[in-house]
């Protein structure tokens, strides 16, 4: 399908090391003029790590934006020039000290398409062996192993509140049920 808006001008109006805001002036389909501000963030990856004994590895992460602790999957931005699989292995290693025996790409989604260009890609990591994580000073988190059925129950019961992590877990459910020992 075609692009219904015509872009007239584009300017970066604010930026920080993690994202930029691009302001576009548009010609709308009804002939009027509009403005759209896009948070430019680039792609990111989410990983469902499953250990050889059938546990899902979750992070309990303090999120300053919402002043709350959230159960999440290992996730993070893809660096310029980095392949998606490399980014997935890097987040797994940094956030939970994990090394995956197998890593399978399962799909993509838009995190917040009303305001942000981020494309999320998700992976199932199996035969994950855990080691020492290396979080950054601003990443405050603890690591939790949960049996697959318990992690899925947490998702269904509202105990996982981070939307992309929750969505990825539910989408992976058919794969995960096959990994229950």
């Amino acid at each position: 399908m075609n692009k219904p808006f015509q872009t007239v001008t584009q300017n970066i109006v604010w930026q920080c090391p993690w994202y930029a805001v691009r302001q576009d002036k548009l010609l709308l389909p009804d002939g009027s003029h509009g403005v759209y501000n896009t948070i430019m963030k680039g792609p990111a990856v989410w990983v469902v790590p499953v250990t050889p004994s059938g546990d899902i590895v979750l992070i309990h992460h303090y999120r300053y934006t919402v002043d709350d602790w959230c159960y999440e999957l290992p996730a993070g931005g893809v660096k310029p020039g980095q392949r998606l699989e490399e980014a997935a292995r890097e987040e797994l290693r940094e956030e939970v000290g994990g090394v995956a025996g197998h890593l399978v790409y399962l799909g993509q989604f838009y995190t917040a398409n009303g305001i942000c260009d981020e494309v999320g890609h998700f992976f199932l990591a199996t035969d994950v062996v855990l080691g020492e994580p290396t979080p950054e000073p601003g990443e405050v988190m603890t690591i939790h192993r949960k049996p697959i059925t318990e992690a899925l129950d947490m998702a269904r019961r509202g105990q996982i509140t981070d939307a992309p992590s929750l969505m990825v877990l539910l989408l992976c459910e058919p794969h995960l049920r096959q990994l229950i020992p």
Copy 2:
């Protein structure tokens, strides 16, 4: 659990009619100083509309941020002073011209807790009667009725790429399966 970061200063560094960026200087747990930028957006609502004949009403929405057409649920921000249920009924009316016989609150989530304070609240709307939508000039969308099983299949097959819409549909699946005629 306690708040591990101490806020030193807070300033709005950029804003537009839809959101603002607040920059906080922080004292991190290791004693070092950090900066956190939060996109301040306030709460939003997502609605799963089901007609008396058991169709889910989806929007096919052009999203300028990602230059793509996305199947989505009716959704939008909660205005200051507005109750969540009022916001849900308003989005239903504006985006698909819908009026719900019953509206049930089902839960909440964080849309993008790494960068944004948005709390998403989701509702199941049943006995939805469709009328004339009243989208804004920048909202380019078409409306699609899909039988419940088809909408859930679209979600599982990667045809719904908007993360919150997809997540809400999957979370509502047990309720939706009871509404299949």
